[in-house]
Symmetry: C3
Subunit: 138 residues, 3 copies
């Protein structure tokens, strides 16, 4: 069994942003030289998500609207803000969209259906953050 | 370390449907002859979910109502539909219920609590779609 | 490849509760003596979640409010209750927050960002329940 680990760093300009990181994960998979196994990709921060969906700009904007509707930015509304934070909404958005994905590795490739793309979802950006890629297999 | 991969194909008749696929995954696990490890089950399409819950018909209908309330079918409401699609709601429903589950394999069995069952959640059915089962272990 | 399995048992006093189980998972990881791999932590019951976020009491209360707003406790509102159950809301809350996390193991440690903590989210407590920890690796 082989094991591989590397971080991907981001500094988003906007508070909320979706970044397609599929090519970066593919690059790391190639570097790992693992051919069969599992690839974990997870946000290392708790106001960001990793998820898999379609890379279509209208849809990504729909995602943003949806999350804002369910967990709106609200300076007064969250108890978490009594600590001095202002990102209660970002913690909730992350909970809805999830922390991680696990992707099968088959014949050295991300074993994907036709439209699957890996996204980093930032909900409290404008600072340096990172994603962990851990691959185990043969 | 051993590795196993197989797809399960579906063609649902209805737009929205929940299918209990536990027996199919168990069959593939047996075929793999892996005794200890991890089993990834993921939708290969981005308008469907894999999740684990109870196989109770009333509950599954509650799930459907819940998802419809949070992310209603709406021809005009989603930017994604400017591409000609009509399934923006299905992408959102999939985001709420998730893409995948990872199940422990212990002594050749899905290592489940008393009521855990694996479901395929279809949110934009009536066409052929597939699920990936990838198992790694000993 | 090595494989390790153990259960963590709970009996929460309250109906809804969030328990930080990071130290317990770390203890099991140490016991496993696995240095590189993946650690699956999943609820074995379908009215509870495992998730990763920040251990801040205000935020945890925000999570509770959020879940109650999206999937309120409601004796009459859920079809699932026709079976005699009263926990339809708990099944829904679990679907939103998820069943499991997969954590990378690197150099014998949970490979975490600065604030990541593992939580057990109980949505139908007051009875004995358990969580599965399965670790595979080297």
């Amino acid at each position: 069994m082989k094991s591989f680990r590397e971080e991907i760093w981001f500094e988003t300009k906007k508070k909320k942003e979706f970044l397609n990181i599929t090519a970066q994960v593919e690059g790391l998979l190639k570097k790992s030289s693992i051919r069969e196994g599992l690839c974990l990709v997870n946000a290392m921060h708790i106001t960001a998500s990793i998820f898999i969906n379609d890379d279509e700009q209208g849809l990504l904007k729909d995602f943003e609207d949806f999350l804002e509707r369910l967990a709106p930015y609200d300076l007064k509304g969250y108890r978490h803000h009594q600590t001095g934070e202002d990102n209660g909404d970002a913690h909730l958005k992350r909970q809805i969209f999830g922390r991680e994905v696990v992707v099968a590795i088959t014949e050295g490739k991300l074993d994907f259906g036709p439209w699957e793309q890996i996204f980093y979802g930032e909900f409290d950006g404008g600072r340096r953050k990172r994603v962990l890629v851990k691959i185990i297999g043969l």
